[in-house]
């Protein structure tokens, strides 16, 4: 790509609860910490992309979050906006940042978000369902996030033969990776076995509690810079090699529940990067529920259709496997930070490529695939990051 845009720095808050901070204040905290850790002054940031503040909480939403941050840091960006495509937001931000750099609109673009995700039983689940479902033709039937994904899972099991044990193996694999991440929420719970998942309480069949990601709060940021600037900020930046998007609609109207059209964005990203699925050394796949890494692996070409589950049941996606997936513990065991959830995969994908993933570092992580989606797998973005251009 012109300008060789690369992720040159990442920062992520520890997932948890931040009861003393408002949504915008969390974003300010993220930006302050991020700039300090990267050694950047606010005046050096000439592009700013931020997610709406306060969305997943169902509380009032600030869709002018970018102006609030510009104000708070007295920045003078050449472009700035508040971007939303749910969990896909941050992949789309990386793509927008790369385009801005390639077209010389900016040299240093900061992408950030912070999210609150209230406990499900405190109204968090209902609020999220209302955001992504049709208020008159889905919500009155008890459309609920786990149930909507369960409709996808049931169809995938029906068409592809995906098993209940394969779903559980995704949770087990994610937990194994989370044990290697100091900030992962579920690290303290220790390892997980398939039988633990199957014995947890039912939520929406086929899902049990441990098939569901863990709601929490958090946030983070990454900086995409022109290649020469990126190399000043980091000895080994993660180059943006390719990206693609696809946008669909509501679950009841989904064209194909077993694919959710997830492959479209990946095909675009691979074509742009002139790479193939076999080049991918590590994958970070958005995992609100255990079905999604299986479905995504199949649609992105990392496994044949019907063979996605085997990546997990056979240990290939686990530590020591030949295709590590969700190496930070996933939303399933790291934590699902609501509005900021899609950041976690990009932060980890970049860390792997930059060689900065600590004890979870994958050997030869030359190409990372990150797939994020928003809504109930409605907005898709695939990102390919690499250690060289």
């Amino acid at each position: 790509m012109d300008g060789s845009p690369a992720i040159a720095g990442v920062l992520e808050l520890a997932p948890g609860r931040y009861p003393d901070l408002g949504a915008l204040e969390m974003q300010e905290l993220v930006l302050a910490r991020a700039l300090a850790s990267w050694g950047l002054r606010p005046s050096e940031v000439d592009g700013l992309l931020v997610s709406p503040a306060g969305m997943a909480s169902g509380a009032s939403v600030d869709v002018f979050a970018h102006d609030a941050l510009v104000d708070a840091f007295r920045m003078k960006p050449r472009f700035a906006e508040t971007v939303n495509a749910g969990g896909a937001t941050y992949g789309i931000m990386a793509a927008r940042a790369a385009i801005a750099i390639a077209t010389r609109q900016a040299d240093v673009v900061v992408c950030l978000g912070a999210g609150r995700f209230p406990p499900v039983n405190a109204g968090g689940g209902d609020a999220m369902a209302r955001i992504v479902s049709h208020v008159d033709f889905e919500v009155p039937y008890g459309a609920f996030i786990p149930a909507l994904y369960a409709l996808v899972a049931a169809r995938h099991m029906h068409e592809r033969g995906t098993t209940r044990e394969a779903l559980a193996s995704v949770a087990v694999t994610s937990r194994a990776w989370a044990l290697e991440h100091p900030d992962a929420l579920m690290r303290k719970k220790g390892p997980l076995r398939v039988e633990d998942v199957l014995a947890s309480r039912p939520i929406a069949e086929p899902f049990r509690l441990l098939d569901c990601s863990v709601p929490c709060e958090g946030g983070g940021a990454f900086v995409v810079a022109r290649g020469d600037v990126a190399r000043r900020l980091s000895p080994a930046p993660a180059y943006v090699l390719g990206f693609g998007e696809h946008h669909g609609g509501r679950v009841s109207q989904a064209h194909d529940l077993a694919t959710m059209d997830a492959g479209v964005s990946a095909a675009r990203a691979f074509e742009m990067a002139r790479l193939r699925a076999s080049d991918v050394r590590v994958a970070e796949l958005y995992d609100a529920f255990t079905i999604t890494p299986i479905l995504l692996a199949e649609e992105l070409g990392l496994a044949a259709r019907g063979a996605g589950g085997a990546l997990f049941t056979e240990g290939r996606a686990a530590p020591g496997g030949d295709l590590p997936i969700n190496t930070y513990g996933g939303l399933l065991s790291f934590g699902h930070t609501g509005d900021a959830s899609g950041l976690s995969m990009i932060v980890e994908g970049a860390r792997q490529v930059m060689g900065a993933a600590g004890s979870r570092q994958v050997a030869d992580a030359s190409v990372a695939l990150v797939h994020v989606y928003g809504g109930i797998m409605a907005d898709h973005c695939t990102l390919l990051l690499g250690s060289s251009t």
Partner: protein
Amino acid sequence: MKPVPAPTAVTKPYWDAAREGRLLLQRCTSCGAVTHYPRPLCPSCWSSALEWVDASGRGRVHSATVVHHPPSPAFPVPYVLAIVELEEGPRMMANVLGGAPVGIGAAVRLTFERRGDFALPQFELVD
């Protein structure tokens, strides 16, 4: 109480008909596409020349889940959330009443659930 719809100028005929025990679909008089849920434009050809037609009420379960943990206390569990493929083609979200697991492909027929001043199109298994 469970949520109720808020009819608009576009959807009012749908909810009025539901109160009379009818499920309405939209048929595009330009391209012939049949659509659920109601909307101002045909999603296939963007024509606004849509007419209301009665659904037969027959359909099959395209996907389904038994929900054990509800979005709010208003929904007693377990209940079945399903996507039903109607005989006319469109798919719609609904509950398959009864709460027992239903298989993909199972034949279902239209029924209605009274909810406040509304009647919600619902489905039940064909014996």
